[in-house]
């Protein structure tokens, strides 16, 4: 099975200390007012009142297997990296159109106010290159966030995946109307499960896909066929001269 980086998060261990948020901000120089990760509060759902206890749900970009953000990107600047399964943003190819933002059910993306391109969690690609874990994972005092190759039973996250595959205690947080097959799994009660929004494809992109593309195909196709037909006629009927060019020596017939 191919490599798929992801996290297994034991929600029951989270204290809501917000260490992961600040470590991420610092490690990735996330601009003021923007966040690459979050801790959702259990009080978000009415059911929480009945539970009478507080639960927390740490999260971030889920590096989904069916990423709707990738489907919303025109240039391929956002793509699923087959080498490690992460969803990557190539900042040099991103034109900052922002179409991927509402396409993410988790709101994991923002438009970077200084770089003017899309930004989100990349599992701390720079730290990983240096052999370190993502900042949020390293800093978590209770080790609620566990990172690794979900398909490798020897990685910390893969070990938990394997261990809990049998007892079926792993859960995903998914919007049923836009399932993206996320790669963040939860152990324990993660609290709110219905907060992800339905992925919204931008109107301009839908209009492009459903109307502009077929219309241009039709116009260029018909014109191209016309030109080919004219060329065929020119080759097959060489004697058919326009009346403006009467044959030499003869007058208009």
């Amino acid at each position: 099975m191919s490599k798929q980086l992801g996290m297994v998060i034991d929600a029951s261990l989270c204290l809501d200390c917000k260490g992961c948020l600040s470590a991420c901000k610092q490690a990735n120089q996330v601009p003021e007012g923007k966040w690459r990760n979050w801790i959702k509060d259990g009080d978000l759902e009415p059911a929480a009142a009945a539970r009478r206890r507080v639960v927390f749900q740490p999260g971030g970009c889920m590096h989904c297997d069916q990423p709707t953000c990738v489907s919303a990107c025109p240039t391929g600047a956002t793509y699923k990296d087959r080498r490690d399964g992460t969803v990557v943003i190539n900042r040099d190819l991103c034109i900052g159109c922002g179409q991927c933002l509402p396409a993410c059910p988790y709101g994991a993306r923002y438009r970077h106010p200084h770089l003017r391109v899309a930004d989100k969690c990349d599992f701390c690609v720079q730290r990983r290159a240096d052999g370190l874990e993502p900042a949020c994972v390293s800093t978590c005092p209770t080790k609620a966030r566990v990172f690794g190759d979900l398909n490798d039973p020897h990685s910390p996250a893969g070990r938990l995946m394997k261990k809990h595959a049998a007892d079926q205690t792993l859960t995903q947080v998914v919007n049923r109307r836009s399932p993206t097959d996320p790669n963040l799994y939860y152990l324990g009660d993660p609290g709110p499960k219905h907060w992800p929004a339905q992925a919204k494809m931008p109107e301009a992109l839908e209009f492009f896909k459903n109307l502009v593309k077929p219309a241009v195909n039709l116009v260029v196709g018909v014109t191209g066929l016309g030109v080919v037909a004219m060329l065929a006629k020119q080759l097959l009927m060489p004697g058919d001269a326009p009346p403006e060019h009467p044959p030499q020596g003869g007058d208009h017939e």
């Binding site: 003017r116 593309k213 260029v220 014109t223």
Partner: protein, 241 residues
């Protein structure tokens, strides 16, 4: 044919034509390659893949597209500033002035003539009192005028939407950017529709036999007087006065 030659294009005009053609085709090829999203890409995944291989990745492709687009815009801007009164404005006036009777008739008759064949057309229209000839035309015939209108307007839309797209990651700070998103769609639409006309233009100018003198004139600037008289009678008469 030993017809005397008359001047049709200036060196500036010839340069602008080929400069524009080169930039336009480069921008068309690279712009199409930038669309990697399979929902939007009309040619299939191989095309953006091929271009990314040639340009060393999508960022190289985007960089080349923007660089050539800015060069194209800068040269056009310079042309309009330097030659506004001499060439540019007269050109625009000439292509946007359509004589409803003469030009529309030309379009209709020319289309029938080309699709049915000249002999067949002449045979069909003779009983209706038409000798198979086309209405006399000015410096540009009606087909050239319509094609030029589409190319000028299409390029204008491409330039504006393209500038918005380039500016998006340079100067636009706001997080919600619907005008950038719509610029992508409009940019593609303008390029597609203009390309359809470019196809016709390439056929008429470079492939159709009877327009061969027009093709050579885009290199040496001259057309045979007989060609000018047959194809652009009103222009020829004006020159002869």
């Amino acid at each position: 044919m030993s017809s005397p030659m008359i001047q049709r294009h200036t060196n500036t005009g010839i340069f602008m034509h080929w400069f524009n053609a080169g930039c336009w085709l480069f921008l068309l090829a690279t712009g199409l390659g930038l669309l990697q999203n399979p929902d939007l890409q009309p040619l299939g995944a191989w095309y953006p893949g091929l271009l990314r291989a040639v340009f060393g990745g999508g960022d190289g492709l985007l960089g080349a597209h923007i660089a050539v687009a800015l060069l194209w815009l800068a040269v056009w801007a310079g042309y309009y500033l330097r030659f506004a009164g001499r060439y540019a404005v007269p050109f625009l006036v000439s292509i946007f002035t359509l004589d409803p009777r003469r030009d529309l008739q030309w379009i209709v008759k020319k289309n029938f003539q080309m699709t049915l064949g000249y002999k067949m057309m002449a045979r069909l229209v003779r009983p209706l009192g038409w000798d198979g000839r086309l209405p006399e035309q000015e410096y540009y015939n009606a087909g050239q005028k319509l094609a030029a209108q589409v190319m000028v307007l299409g390029s204008l839309v491409l330039a504006v939407s393209g500038l918005i797209l380039a500016a998006s990651s340079w100067i636009i700070d706001t997080p919600n950017v619907p005008w950038v998103q719509w610029s992508i769609t409009i940019h593609y639409l303008a390029a597609g529709l203009t390309f359809a006309i470019v196809l016709v233009h390439i056929y008429m100018a470079a492939i159709a036999k009877e327009e061969r003198p027009a093709l050579w004139s885009m290199f040496n600037g001259q057309v045979p007087a007989a060609y000018a008289e047959h194809h652009h009678k009103l222009w020829y008469d004006k020159l002869s006065k």
